[in-house]
């Protein structure tokens, strides 16, 4: 179980950082939003939903973290990050659209570290 717990957040961190790097490269190259970036955001969204599912399963199993309210807030906010970034990035018709996606990738990675701080049983 702890193996599964660790694999998903680690994948999210790597995926978020890779997405951020690629998106920043697109900004540097003066490119606009692309299908590739949207697809990558979709993958990130799926990974985040899987992580939310794993944590909910753990909560359903009867375990509780010290900061339960904060954790629930994270569970609600986490899956919204790629969705909000996709909408906000698509509204931008310049190189700064991909830059918004880069922020979402970095945020996803940071959220995983924060999750571990809120509830150490969530391994990274």
């Amino acid at each position: 179980m702890s193996c599964v717990n660790g694999a998903v957040p680690t994948t999210i961190i790597v995926a978020g950082l890779v997405l951020a790097g690629y998106a920043l490269l697109m900004t540097a190259l003066n490119r606009r939003m692309s299908v590739i970036l949207l697809a990558a955001l979709g993958v990130l969204e799926i990974l985040l939903l899987v992580e939310v599912g794993l944590i909910v399963a753990k909560l359903a199993g009867g375990e509780r973290p010290a900061g339960l309210a904060t954790l629930i807030g994270y569970l609600i906010a986490m899956p919204l990050v790629p969705v909000a970034a996709a909408f906000w990035g698509l509204m931008e018709r310049s190189r700064w659209g991909p830059a918004v996606i880069a922020v979402a990738g970095l945020v996803a990675a940071v959220l995983m570290v924060r999750l571990h701080q809120i509830w150490p049983v969530i391994h990274v």
């Binding site: 309210a69 807030g73 698509l90 931008e92 700064w96």
Partner: protein
Amino acid sequence: MSEPVASPEPAASHPDSTRTGPGRVLIAIYALFALSASARAGVQIATKFSDAPVAYLLSAFAAMVYVLATVTFAIGSPTARRIAVLSCSVELVGVLAVGTWSLADPASFPDATVWSGYGSGYGFVPLVLPVFGLLWLRRWTGRARTRRTIVPSAGDAGEAAADGHRRAGTDRMSG
């Protein structure tokens, strides 16, 4: 959505607004901080206010400043820009003052605020953000309405102006 084509002149749907271009990224980060700081301060004040009242009240104040900056950047009217300059200035002074205070007198801060240690708990983003915010707002004072001020890569002035109109028209149709 069109393919990832190189755009020599990134045309925006609202070129005369602080919410486009780099402002889009600033608003995304400000919104993130507004949301997380508000939620965090709310939880802290509701559940353990007596632990560190000064820190939690400062967190709530910081949250309000972030909300104000997010909203004013997104509105982008001249009045909103003036309020945004004010809130970014308050933010910069706040992070410098609280950062110094938290280092000089750690006893006052049993728990961290967003601005403790100059925002070190948040990768110093709280320190850098108001600086970029003020720099972005500066581009809009006095010489607003000139699209080329936000597009350094635009070529010859006369040609760019003529081209700009044509491209803007094309862009509206495709987008």
